[in-house]
Every structure is written in C-alpha cells, then in structure tokens.
C-alpha cells in the first residue's frame, strides 16, 4: 500500500498549504484551549462561568447587557481585556480565522505556474477584504 501511495504525486503547492495549515491550526487550538482551561478552573474570568450559564439563553446583545452592562461591537472587547483568560482564549479563534490566509500566502510561493501564483494572491487579497467586510 505504501508503494501505491507513493505513485500519487501531490503538488508542492498543496503540501505547503497543508503543512502551514496544520501548524497554525494546532497553534490556534492551543491558544484557544489553554486559557480556556484556566478560565474553567476559575482564574481571571472576565465573565464568571455562573453568569454565562445564567444568560446564554438570551441573544448575544442581551447576554452582554446582563453580564457587563454594554453591547459589544468590534474586536475591542478582546484586545482591551487580554489579562482575562476567557478573552485571551479568543486570540486562538482569531488565529484560526486567518489560518487559511497564511496557508494561501505560503502556497502562493510554490505555485506551479504564474497563473496559480496570481490566483492564490487574488484569493488572499479577497480574504483580507472579506475579513474587514464581515467584521462590519
């Protein structure tokens, strides 16, 4: 079976894309989970766990109004509260969000032809536009 698998030639572009994706996905998951474990054991909570389960039945807007007394808009609630474990955990989510972009950029340099380099560059630029658009 190993010999048969070696007959399959995968583009370097694909291999680089996959390798960078797995590395940044693992880092993103670790960045998300380690602070979350600290959060679950009660260390430096921005929103106490008891409040979370008390208000998670309401909309996001209602949840923030009840727990912190304000509405959330933008990424400020994460970057202004990085000393808290639950908000620090969101940095991992942010890294996961941009991991495909990192992979596209890495794969771009291994494009087998100019056309693929241009296509991946376009996809990366559009990805960035999409991040800004979807963040409102």
């Amino acid at each position: 079976m190993v010999e048969k698998e070696q007959e399959v030639k995968v583009d370097d572009m694909g291999l680089v894309f996959g390798k960078s994706m797995i590395v940044f996905t693992i880092i993103g998951i670790i960045m998300m989970i380690v602070p979350a474990i600290l959060y679950f054991v009660g260390i430096r909570q921005y929103i106490p766990l008891a409040d979370v389960s008390k208000y998670w039945g309401g909309s996001a807007a209602e949840f923030w109004q009840h727990t912190k007394g304000f509405h959330v808009h933008g990424y400020g609630w994460i970057f202004n509260n990085l000393f808290y474990t639950d908000t620090l955990s969101m940095l991992g989510v942010l890294l996961l969000m941009i991991t495909p972009l990192i992979s596209m950029i890495a794969a771009m340099f291994k494009g087998p032809t100019k056309a693929y380099k241009i296509l991946l560059f376009l996809a990366a630029v559009e990805f960035v536009i999409s991040i800004f658009f979807k963040a409102g």
């Binding site: 079976m1 048969k4 698998e5 007959e7 399959v8 030639k9 995968v10 583009d11 572009m13 694909g14 996959g18 390798k19 994706m21 996905t25 998951i29 989970i33 979350a36 679950f40 929103i47 979370v52 998670w56 039945g57 996001a60 209602e62 949840f63 923030w64 959330v72 808009h73 933008g74 990424y75 609630w77 994460i78 639950d86 955990s89 969101m90 989510v93 942010l94 996961l96 969000m97 941009i98 991991t99 495909p100 972009l101 992979s103 596209m104 494009g111 087998p112 032809t113 056309a115 693929y116 996809a123 559009e126 990805f127 536009i129 999409s130 991040i131 658009f133 979807k134 963040a135 409102g136």
Partner: protein, 294 residues
C-alpha cells in the same frame, strides 16, 4: 458541565461525519443544536461556524497530502467564491433591511433547491468514479492542469481523474458564493454536487475539496466575534469534539467505500433541504413553530 459533555460528544460525531461528507458541520450542528441545547441561536451559530472552519482546517492537510483535496481546484474557485460571497453579504444586508420577511421565502427556496439537488444526485449514475476523458476537458481545465490522482484503498489502486466544464462551473460557483454570502450560509451542500456532477470530480475528491473550499469561509467568524457571540463555554467543547472527530473522519474518508460517501451526502442534503423548508414554512406561519431559532 453536563451541557459541555453532551456538546463534546455531539460535535465528536459531527466531526467524524464532516470530512466524509464534505459538509462543514454547521448545516447539521446549527439546526440540531437549537433543538437540543439551551443556548441562544446567536451562540449556536457562532460556535457552529468556528466548529465548521476548525473541522475543515483539521482535516484538509491530511486530505491534501493524500491527493483527495485538490489545491488546484481551490486556487481557481476560491477567488471566485470569496468575492461573490462579499458582494452577496452586502446585497443581503440591503435586502433584509428593506424586506425583513423575505428571508423566509429565501429559506423555503433554498430548501427546495437543496431537495432538487438531492433528487438529481439520487438519480445520477457514476458519481463515485465519473469517467472524464482528456478530450472532454475544456480549455481552462487543460491549461490549468486540473487533474489529479489518489490511492483508493477500496480498489487497491491509484485512481486518476480529470476536471471538465470549468467555465460553466466558475459561473455556478460565483452564484453559490453570492447566495452563501447573502444568507450567511456555508456552501458545503452546494460544493459537493457541483464538483461531482458538473465538474466530474469523483465523489471522494468532491467531498475533500469541498472541505478545502470551506476554509475560505473563515472570515465569517468575524461576524460573531465582533458581536461577542463566541463564548469559551460553548466553543471549547465544540472545537475539541470536532477536532478529534475530524481527525478520525479524515482517516475514515480515505478508507470508506465511495458508495457510502454518496449515501451520506444524500442523507445530509435531504436533512438540510427539509430543515430549510420547515424553517421557511414556519417563518411564514404556514406550519406551527417546531424548530427553535428558525
């Protein structure tokens, strides 16, 4: 703690199904979670999206290495889908603010389209290994070298494949991206049938490449992060479940019989179509409210 354990087990199962079917997981997670869990749909959608993207990110490297997830197809389709998804999102905001009830008609139409795709896939032959001859490849597919190969354990040999109808598919993927962006949907339900039936990608290549395309939907996480709709208490058990499940699912996807993949995709399409029809009908008041958050 109870809900965290249930959530972990639930997402573990979805994680196994996801790479096998090529559907991100959100299409199953969101409607079923609104029935099972006490969380508001805002948090379910946020967790569903992080989960769908994480499951794709976790399984794609393995599927790419095996030759199943085709990076060349991704490089061609991603620039089309990402930009049309942004345009769709912009139009969607305008339409929903001008015509709020319209989303129910759209859900109904979307459900009907998914059920139509289900019926077409059900009746189509040779979906497991479509035979696209070199001469059937169009000029775009030929010049971009849109072909590939993978070792199929159930056959005990390497299977080669070619891609056709690249020009038509570019238009179809532009429409899929627009619809997905307009209504905030993932596009796994549409990617697989188009890659398989229109472009001639074998079903396992179609499902794996669909997972690759789903990664381009990652910026949508920003919608939920900027609203504070992603909470560690809900996201962490979901991501752990989906990550472990997706690793298992990626290995299962490699060794599973293509005919099983076909039936799994059909089952998910039927479920997704039926849920959208029900949500649309209940939103319009035609039937009683049976799915929460719809």
């Amino acid at each position: 703690m109870f809900w965290s354990i249930v959530l972990f087990l639930f997402t573990l199962i979805i994680g196994i199904i996801s790479p096998v079917s090529g559907v991100g997981g959100g299409v199953l997670f969101v409607p079923l979670s609104t029935l099972i869990f006490p969380f508001h749909v805002d948090f379910i959608r946020g967790a569903g999206l992080v989960m769908a993207v994480t499951s794709a990110l976790s399984s794609v490297p393995y599927l790419t290495k095996k030759g199943l997830a085709n990076i060349r197809l991704f490089a061609v389709l991603a620039p089309i889908m990402v930009i049309t998804s942004v345009v769709g999102g912009f139009v969607g905001l305008k339409v929903t603010s001008a015509f709020p009830g319209g989303k129910y008609y759209i859900e109904l139409m979307l459900g009907a389209i998914i059920l139509l795709v289900f019926a077409v896939m059900m009746l189509s032959k040779k979906l497991e290994f479509p035979d696209v001859k070199e001469e059937e490849m169009d000029s775009w597919a030929k010049s971009l070298g849109l072909r590939g190969a993978w070792y199929e354990p159930t056959l005990g040999r390497v299977v080669n494949f070619n891609i056709k109808n690249m020009k038509k598919s570019a238009v179809v993927f532009a429409i899929i991206g627009f619809i997905a962006g307009m209504f905030g949907l993932g596009a796994g339900w549409a990617n697989v049938p188009v890659l398989n039936m229109l472009m001639g990608a074998p079903i396992k290549v179609a499902t794996a490449t669909s997972m690759l395309i789903i990664t381009a939907n990652a910026p949508a996480i920003g919608i939920y992060l900027t609203k504070g709709a992603i909470l560690p208490s809900i996201v962490i058990p979901s991501v752990l479940g989906i990550t472990i499940g997706a690793r298992i699912g990626a290995k299962v996807a490699e060794i599973i019989k293509p005919v099983f993949v076909r039936w799994l995709v059909l089952g998910i399409l039927f479920l997704a179509g039926a849920l959208n029809v029900i949500k649309g009908l209940q939103g319009l008041g035609v039937i009683p409210h049976i799915i929460p958050g719809g």
